[in-house]
């Protein structure tokens, strides 16, 4: 039986704004299937975003949704989570939104290990504004603000998240869909700050300037360059050039911020009661 997406999609809000060939729709559907399989009630989940193509996703989903300012989804999400620590809070962001203008919030949310799921849709470009280079645009690629080829060094998003203290870090692609469903489920189920980078394609502002003749070429590029972490690790370094590992890349257990905070509150309130007696 086919999956009923309509149960999650807000009536009258489609079609979405994404261009033909954009892979965000693939991720959108994967997210809906993942949340459905976790049986999270619609009233108990919030999806927060900043600005950019990825950040328009919450508007289509029938949850508690919040479309904030550029780069700032995580502070708003932190406010929601600390106000209602019993609820699920997800953030969807893009490469520029999460790691350029929102970079400070990104690393500090990772450091706190607050129970928020951060899904970064990396399409290697500022798509909404027409194709400027982002912190993940590959070196040498053409962008409107790098017309002679990008010379701006890049972020590795999972490594950045791990270094900043995230306790669950993964990477998937819009091509490897069954694996992506599982990764999103894993990211949401993890207690603590999880970062899932999802490799995406922007044919309109990135692909067509960079010798991808069609959106299909961009998906095939993902197919050819993504390797499960176990396979990636077995290769000698000279054979990993141009490839990237996918799957759960890093995971550890650590105290979650809202639990730690409210444990302190409980202890202090008990002490106060004790004194009143």
């Amino acid at each position: 039986m086919s999956f009923d997406y309509d149960q999650f999609i807000r009536g009258g809000k489609l079609p979405h704004i994404w261009c033909p060939g954009c892979t965000y729709g693939i991720v959108f559907k994967s997210l809906l299937r993942a949340v459905d399989s976790l049986k999270i009630p619609k009233d108990d989940i919030a999806l927060v975003s900043g600005i950019g193509c990825a950040s328009r996703l919450p508007g289509y989903v029938d949850w508690n949704t919040l479309h904030t300012t550029h780069g700032r989804a995580l502070p708003f999400a932190t406010g929601l989570k600390m106000a209602r620590p019993d609820k699920r809070v997800l953030v969807v962001s893009g490469d520029g939104d999460a790691t350029a203008i929102g970079g400070n919030h990104f690393i500090h949310a990772c450091r706190r290990n607050i129970d928020i799921t951060v899904i970064v849709l990396n399409n290697f470009i500022y798509g909404m504004t027409g194709g400027q280079h982002s912190p993940t645009t590959p070196i040498g690629h053409l962008a409107t603000t790098m017309p002679f080829g990008n010379v701006d060094p890049i972020f590795n998003i999972p490594e950045l998240a791990k270094g900043a203290g995230a306790t669950w870090v993964g990477r998937g692609t819009a091509y490897h869909v069954p694996a992506l469903d599982k990764l999103i489920i894993g990211a949401i189920e993890h207690k603590g700050l999880s970062v899932l980078e999802i490799i995406n394609a922007c044919p309109t502002t990135h692909g067509r300037r960079n010798k991808f003749r069609s959106p299909t070429d961009m998906l095939l590029w993902m197919k050819d360059t993504a390797l499960p972490l176990s396979a990636f690790e077995k290769l000698p370094p000279e054979k990993t050039a141009g490839k990237f590992p996918t799957g759960i890349l890093y995971k550890r257990e650590a105290p979650e911020y809202s639990e730690t905070y409210f444990a302190m509150v409980e202890r202090l309130m008990k002490q106060k009661e004790g004194r009143a007696d």
Binding site: L66, P75, F76, G79, N104, L268, M269
Partner: protein, 377 residues
């Protein structure tokens, strides 16, 4: 009888927030406002509240908006440079009609300026700091007791009009210690935002047919909604079409400007028969009061108009005053900001004379008295 305390202004602000039911504070250390956060850090956890020191000023205001959307009364506090950083998200709060309180303890600027010196030079930033047209409520208490009561009022106005409210006072009042009485619970009114009574399926977060201040549903309360910083229709979803944007922005302005009588509050001192008036707020209002008393002792009919609400600006009061006094003196710790508003409302009906000072010291009563004599003669 309430509780008597010796507190500095910043601490009184924190006490006012607690009295008003604030359970969520997010901030970032900055002189001269840090004591607000420090005081709440000692108090909020004891009542189950949340205190967060965020990674920056921008994050602090983002966090309090997030918390308010989940139903908490929330506040942040900052000073000059931090207030500049917060502006974009303050605008988000205004467009998305999120009740919250932003405290700006003014210090000298621009840039790092004089972190430990008083100033009143953020007052136009309070009005115009964020981009676009927007409603602004800004309160300007001058005494420690007043910082307490005006902070309670700020929360009430935020809840009543569903908008961020700014409290702007200066470093002197922020750090000054005075005796204050914290009233028993129930003495000062404490208001809560109007929440929807309709079934969730019928709820629209910006439904103008429910009045200029539509009811607010909390996130996770069963009223699933979409909130966006894009101009939006009554159901909360983006629109970029005429005439909705225009009419909705007019509603935002109207909910503040249309309730000026409810929002504007002034203190007046011997103003009824005054021939010379002093218009001053905050610490300059304190000096102004003293100067007016000295002038009266010297036989000069002087009076004071001290706004506790600077935005919306008390246009009617200034206009009425201008038509019956020789002159209005406007002392302010800037190179002349609010004086232009007074001139705008006086419309040339009387002299308007500014006294400006930005060297880190307050304007003295003697300085103002001298000007009163000058205008009187």
């Amino acid at each position: 009888m309430g509780t008597l305390k010796l507190l500095q202004g910043n601490e009184a602000c924190a006490e006012g927030a607690l009295y008003a039911g604030c359970t969520f504070f997010a901030g970032y250390p900055i002189t001269p406002s840090t004591e607000v956060a420090e005081y709440l850090a000692r108090r909020l956890p004891l009542i189950g509240g949340v205190i967060l020191q965020m990674e920056d000023e921008i994050a602090s205001v983002g966090a309090i908006i997030g918390a308010s959307l989940a139903g908490k009364k929330s506040m942040t506090a900052t000073s000059g440079p931090g207030f500049s950083l917060k502006q974009e998200n303050i605008g988000f709060g205004m467009l998305c009609e999120v009740p919250c309180v932003i405290v700006d303890v003014m210090r000298g600027g621009p840039s790092t300026g004089v972190p430990t010196g008083p100033s009143q030079s953020d007052i136009m930033q309070c009005k115009w700091g964020t981009h676009g047209d927007h409603p602004v409520i800004c309160l300007t208490p001058a005494y420690v007791q007043e910082i307490f009561s005006e902070t309670v009022r700020a929360f009430n106005l935020a809840e009543r009009y569903r908008t961020p409210v700014i409290i702007a006072f200066d470093e002197i009042v922020g750090h000054m210690r005075e005796k204050i009485e914290i009233p028993e619970k129930g003495v000062l009114p404490v208001e809560n935002r109007r929440r929807p009574t309709c079934p969730p399926s019928e709820y629209k977060p910006f439904d103008e047919t429910k009045g200029d201040v539509p009811p607010v549903a909390d996130f996770f309360s069963g009223y699933r909604q979409h909130i966006t910083g894009l101009n939006h229709a009554s159901d909360g979803f983006p629109v970029n079409a005429s005439p909705r944007i225009h009419t909705d922005e007019l509603r935002l302005i109207r909910k503040v400007e249309g309730n000026r009588k409810d929002i504007i509050r002034n203190e007046t001192v011997t103003l009824d028969d005054a021939e010379v008036a002093v218009f001053a707020y905050g610490v300059s209002g304190r000096s102004g009061k003293n100067a007016v008393e000295l002038a009266r002792a010297a036989g000069i009919k002087a009076g004071l108009l001290r706004p506790l609400t600077i935005w919306p600006f008390p246009e009617e009061d200034v206009a009425a005053l201008a038509s019956r006094v020789k002159g209005i003196i406007v002392p302010e710790l800037s190179l002349g900001q609010i004086v232009h508003e007074v001139e705008r409302c006086a419309k040339g009906r009387c002299k308007v004379e500014g006294i400006f000072r930005v060297d880190g010291d307050p304007i003295t009563p003697a300085q103002i008295l001298e000007k009163i004599k000058e205008v009187q003669s």
